[in-house]
């Protein structure tokens, strides 16, 4: 099997800093965002809900597009040790950033739609709103069912004294493809959201 045959590159066999799974210094920022979001929903403040939805959604879409359509293809052409080096620094940060942005965007977006009466079936653009739920639902299944498991498994593999390079390569392919798919789906989100905002 390839997993047994693949030699470990010297750059990986040499002593290297232990890969962090969760960058703990980022946790206070996440806590601040969650508290801010809770306050925005509790006070039903139009500005605060707009802020969390627009900022969260813009960053989520931008990062997904960048990862899927720019960084992903670049990663695919890099040598496996280089990919490991980059992803060892990038993935722990994404582990905090992405769920926070998703919670921020969806929590404030749902509350905003409710406050503005957009959830009602009589809302003229209700079909577009349901389409956005479907797009987000498909992205959630891809991200939680494939992308995130591959991401965490890579991080744990890299913490081993002798990481299995073939396994990391295989898992990273899953990460690159799923990031590409969610990146493309974000284009659909952009179309739907600009359609809703301009109606």
């Amino acid at each position: 099997m390839a997993t047994l045959a693949e030699p470990i590159p010297a750059s990986l066999a040499a002593p290297r800093p232990r890969t962090k799974i969760v960058p703990v210094q980022g946790l206070p920022v996440v806590a601040a965002v969650i508290i801010g979001l809770t306050v925005a929903i509790a006070t039903n403040s139009q500005w605060a809900l707009d802020f969390f939805h627009v900022v969260g959604g813009g960053l989520w879409t931008g990062i997904d597009l960048f990862l899927g359509l720019v960084l992903g293809p670049i990663l695919g052409t890099m040598s496996i040790p280089s990919r490991i080096e980059l992803s060892g620094r990038l993935m722990p940060k994404l582990l905090l950033i992405m769920p926070t942005l998703v919670t921020m965007t969806l929590g404030s977006g749902f509350q905003l739609a409710r406050k503005l009466g957009n959830l009602s079936a009589s809302y003229p653009q209700h079909g577009w709103l349901v389409a956005s739920y479907i797009v987000v639902g498909v992205m959630a299944v891809i991200a939680l069912g494939l992308l995130e498991p591959a991401n965490i498994a890579v991080l744990f593999e890299m913490r081993k004294p002798e990481p299995n390079v073939a396994r990391i390569g295989k898992l990273m392919r899953v990460f690159i493809y799923t990031a590409g798919i969610t990146g493309l789906m974000q284009i659909a989100t952009l179309v739907i959201m600009t359609k809703l905002a301009s109606s």
Partner: protein
């Protein structure tokens, strides 16, 4: 060559056949998300409960089967599984708690609230199971 090696050494962590935990976890996720989309598409009006209860029941069955299959794996890296699943569960309790708060705050009551809460519970158990398994399957027991 490979069979010769297997005859003399215990197989590496990811060479052992594993039950379809990841596939069942993915299917559970699809059912819960579909139920969530169906509910959100009807809110704030009354949501027809037949389809949501059907999706929820199917998700519960798949989750239960997955837990049983997982518990029956021999020589599994349970410490790695507990480490990952525990922390992910803590994170998802916060996310599920946020969503529950929004439902209650928006006056969702009665059987609709019970169904949504059950969906969140399935979600909050399924994701840690999925992520814990994804890591532990590649770790040595």
């Amino acid at each position: 060559m490979a069979s010769y090696e297997h005859a003399h050494h215990p197989p590496a962590a990811d060479e052992r056949p594993m039950p379809p935990i990841q596939q069942l976890g993915g299917a559970t996720l699809v059912l819960v998300v579909a139920g969530g989309i169906y509910t959100a598409a009807h809110l704030p009006r009354h949501v027809p409960q037949g389809p949501t209860i059907g999706l929820l029941a199917a998700a519960c069955v798949l989750l239960a089967v997955n837990i049983i299959l997982l518990a029956r794996i021999e020589n599994f890296a349970w410490s790695s599984f507990r480490l990952v699943a525990g922390w992910v569960f803590a994170a998802y309790i916060i996310i599920a708690g946020m969503l529950e708060y929004v439902f209650i705050y928006d006056d969702t009551r009665g059987s609709q609230l019970v169904i949504l809460t059950a969906m969140l519970a399935v979600f909050a158990v399924n994701i840690p199971l999925l992520l814990g398994f994804s890591v532990a399957r590649f770790q040595d027991p």
